[in-house]
Amino acid sequence: MEYNPNIVCFSCKFGWGYVGDKQSGNGSPENWVPVVCSGKVESTHILEAFKAGADGVLILACQEGHCHYQDGNFQTGKKVYLLQKVLETFGIEHERVRMEMARNPEGDKIVQLVKDMKQDISKLGPVRRF
């Protein structure tokens, strides 16, 4: 059976579609959690995503210097970087957590980015659980 990875996507409402949960017309990503500031995404949430069965976590944050709450995106960047190392020890490849820092006010690139990540993750195969 072809491996169809599940990606959980967190996206910041300020930089990636301020219409929030309303769709931009080209389908909504599955497992989508729009948040007010990527800085609110906790390490616990990412770990629980994997526990719930996700194969990857995508975090869409605002571009450098443009966080509405000053440096929330920077905080998450540091968190993700350290968490990736911890995940490697748990046997989860660091590529499975990805963070993009950019601006997409219409939120119309989200679906494509999730698809791209799915494609990249599928090369890794399913998550190896100890």
Binding site: E42, S43, T44, L47, E48, F50, K51, E64, F74, Q75, G77, K78, K79, Y81, L82, L83, K85, V86, T89, F90, G91, I92, F130
Partner: protein, 327 residues
């Protein structure tokens, strides 16, 4: 004369330090020993499992079990004592959280065996023998417990009534726990015996912290001369205190060693390591992204720091054991 309550103490995947801690009660131990009837204590007394098997269900008032569950014997004994006891106390970090042995969950059983019995530099094992669970010798069956490929905490294997944290639990906490049982003044089931706040609450260095802690470099404890009065975090030394339950009396802090987290997360937090990770990175101050990464790269074993005692009870480390939980 009313019968003295029966108490069982045993060790599963343990180092014996918890038993030492019980002995360290000194005179208090004698008083306790007077009030109870110890029916099992492998390190000190000569009772056998068969003695326990012969008892009625729930005949033992209190079983104090130390150590993690790593092999089938551990699991069997855990189930046995659960069956025969009114109350089970998970005693120490290994029973409560999984303990240091839990770090073995980061590698597979095969990798462990290959290293220990084949690849380590000092191994001499020309025939490539590895442990078996059963073998026949002179017509007799010899068995060994099966080593699982995962380390479990006691609570993941049986139903536990109370948890006593610490590596090992300090004497005063042990005395509190035992006296509570003996007097019948019991906390709600499932409670951990100890304070509810993190270590910083009682740490003498806490009040001297600056208004904003900014970590620019991370150092290991042996790389610097740590100031005995300032917070370790302020000095760039990883101290698990903020995410660790208090109650140990700051024994490590008082000898100028940072907390390693043996008391586990505070109540309500499932994964202390994950919370600590967020807390640590938020204190990191770096001008550029590259600088931030450089400092993070200098942490040599983050998973080891954050999950030293708690891997098996962490979000990703938790696993269901082969046998169903009985209680």
């Amino acid at each position: 004369m009313a019968e003295k309550p029966k108490v069982a103490i045993t060790w599963l995947g343990a180092c014996g330090g918890c038993d030492e801690a019980i002995v360290d009660l000194n005179e208090a131990l004698l008083q306790v020993a007077d009030k109870v009837n110890i029916v099992l204590w492998p390190v000190a007394l000569d009772f056998k499992y068969s003695h326990i098997e012969a008892m009625k269900d729930r005949e033992i008032t209190l079983s104090m079990i130390t150590g993690a569950v790593r092999n089938s014997e551990h699991e069997e004994v855990a189930h046995l004592l659960r069956k025969k006891s009114e109350l089970v106390l998970a005693f120490g970090a290994c029973a409560t959280l999984g303990g240091i042995s839990g770090l073995a969950n980061f590698i597979s059983k095969d990798d462990i065996f290959n290293w220990v019995y084949r690849d380590a530099p000092t191994v001499v094992n020309p025939q490539g023998n590895i442990p078996q669970t059963a073998i026949e010798v002179n017509g007799k069956q010899l068995t060994l417990p099966e080593m699982y490929d995962h380390v479990y905490s006691l609570g993941q294997v049986i139903d536990v009534d109370y948890y006593l944290p610490g590596c090992p639990p300090p004497s005063d906490l042990i005395a509190t726990a035992v006296n509570a049982v003996l007097s019948g003044d019991l906390p709600p089931k499932g409670a951990t015996i100890g304070p509810r706040r993190a270590l910083c609450d009682t740490c003498p260095r806490n009040l001297r912290k600056p208004a904003r802690i900014e970590i620019k470099e991370i150092r290991r404890i042996h790389e610097v001369e740590a100031e005995p009065d300032s917070c370790f975090l302020e000095q760039g030394i990883i101290c698990m205190g903020p995410a660790t339950r208090g109650g140990c009396g700051e024994t490590c802090i008082s000898i100028n060693t940072p907390c390693r987290g043996c008391f586990g997360p505070i109540p309500g937090v499932e994964d202390g390591g994950a919370r600590y990770l967020s807390a640590l990175t938020s204190m990191l101050r770096a001008e550029t992204d590259d600088d931030a990464r450089r400092v993070i790269d200098s942490i040599d074993d983050p998973a080891g720091y954050f999950y030293r005692f708690s891997q098996p009870t962490s979000i990703l480390g938790t696993k269901r054991p082969p046998q169903a939980t009985e209680g």
